[in-house]
């Protein structure tokens, strides 16, 4: 789903986010987290997409796609900082990103704070609604 690509492209180009530091290598699109992934890591996941149907579809489609940005870290404060920087990097985006025309990106739900005791990892996610044509 292209909303995923759009959000990841914005995140890996965001200097304040990379300065946390979050390595661009650990900003991944999709559900795979390879072995030896270093935290903090960010997963960009497509949750679902709804087309905006016109009577005649035309060459380009209009999509409203829910994209989840899932942040993993061993530091609680770091998760909060990263989520705030993700929000700033992604919102107020219009125009061409990764070859797609972004109409707008709006905020949606924030997930509960999660903790995995054996690994000591904490996680939290934020959903965005990405409206794009392509």
């Amino acid at each position: 789903m292209s909303g995923t690509l759009i959000v990841r492209t914005l995140l890996v180009a965001d200097a304040p986010l990379l300065a946390v530091p979050v390595s661009a290598t650990w900003i991944r699109a999709g559900v795979d987290l390879p072995l030896k992934t270093e935290s903090p890591a960010i997963l960009v996941l497509g949750v679902g997409s709804v087309p905006f149907n016109r009577i005649k579809a035309g060459a380009t489609q209009i999509h409203s796609e829910r994209v989840q940005v899932y942040v993993l870290s061993r530091d609680y404060e770091q998760i909060k900082t990263i989520l705030r920087l993700v929000r700033a990097a992604v919102l107020d985006t219009h125009g061409t990103v990764a070859g797609f025309n972004v109409i707008d990106i709006t905020l949606d739900v924030e997930s509960p704070e999660l903790r995995d005791e054996p690994t000591g990892l904490m996680a939290q996610s934020r959903d965005f609604i990405v409206r794009w044509t392509g």
Partner: protein
């Protein structure tokens, strides 16, 4: 008796159905009192369920010399496609009923004159779209305009319309920017079967 009636039935059937028994058309049964030509014209269309998907909408500032297929298909009418139509209003004949209730006997009903429909046409707001530019001009004018609807199977309907309004939809977070035009149909649609 049967032998005498057979040629008469053939003649009547030929008068009623005409060319619509060509391959690809369903036999047309015209309502009593309705002239064959408009009856066949209206019924010589799709013969199975159809949908509105992939229909195209066009507008022209020019009116036809005659409100029939020949008039609308004249090259004098230059059509501009209206881009990204989301919704188009219902059109076609609708008549209200006047009723009078006598003290004795059944309620009497008469039909009022036909209203050929209309309502909101909604489009994705595209200020540079040629068809939308004409629709916007139509809303500022008291002139009639011509609209052509081409359905996915090629069936084409022509409408004589006035356009009242060219309004942006309500703004809200996450909503698409759309325009709503009030399109009202003034005459019976001219319906042309797919070629």
């Amino acid at each position: 008796m049967k032998r005498k009636m057979k040629p008469l039935f053939s003649a009547v059937r030929k008068w009623l159905f005409g060319d619509t028994l060509k391959a690809g058309f369903a036999p047309v049964v015209c309502p009593p009192g309705m002239q064959p030509t408009p009856c066949q014209q209206q019924q010589a269309g799709h013969t199975d369920a159809a949908a509105y998907s992939e229909s195209s909408y066009y507008i022209s500032a020019t009116l036809p010399d005659s409100y029939d297929e020949a008039g609308y298909e004249s090259t004098d009418l230059v059509w501009a496609e209206i881009g990204q139509v989301v919704k188009f209003p219902a059109y076609g004949s609708m008549q209200e009923i006047n009723k009078i209730s006598p003290i004795k006997g059944a309620i009497k009903k008469v039909k009022r004159t036909a209203d050929y429909g209309g309502g909101d046409m909604q489009v994705v707001d595209l200020p540079q779209d040629a068809g939308q530019i004409i629709a916007k001009a139509a809303s500022a004018s008291s002139n009639h305009y011509s609209i052509k609807v081409v359905y996915a199977d090629g069936e084409t309907h022509y409408l004589d319309v006035i356009v009242a309004g060219w309004q942006k939809t309500e703004a809200a977070s996450g909503e698409f920017m759309l325009r709503t035009a009030k399109v009202e149909v003034n005459k019976a649609p001219v319906e042309v079967a797919a070629a």
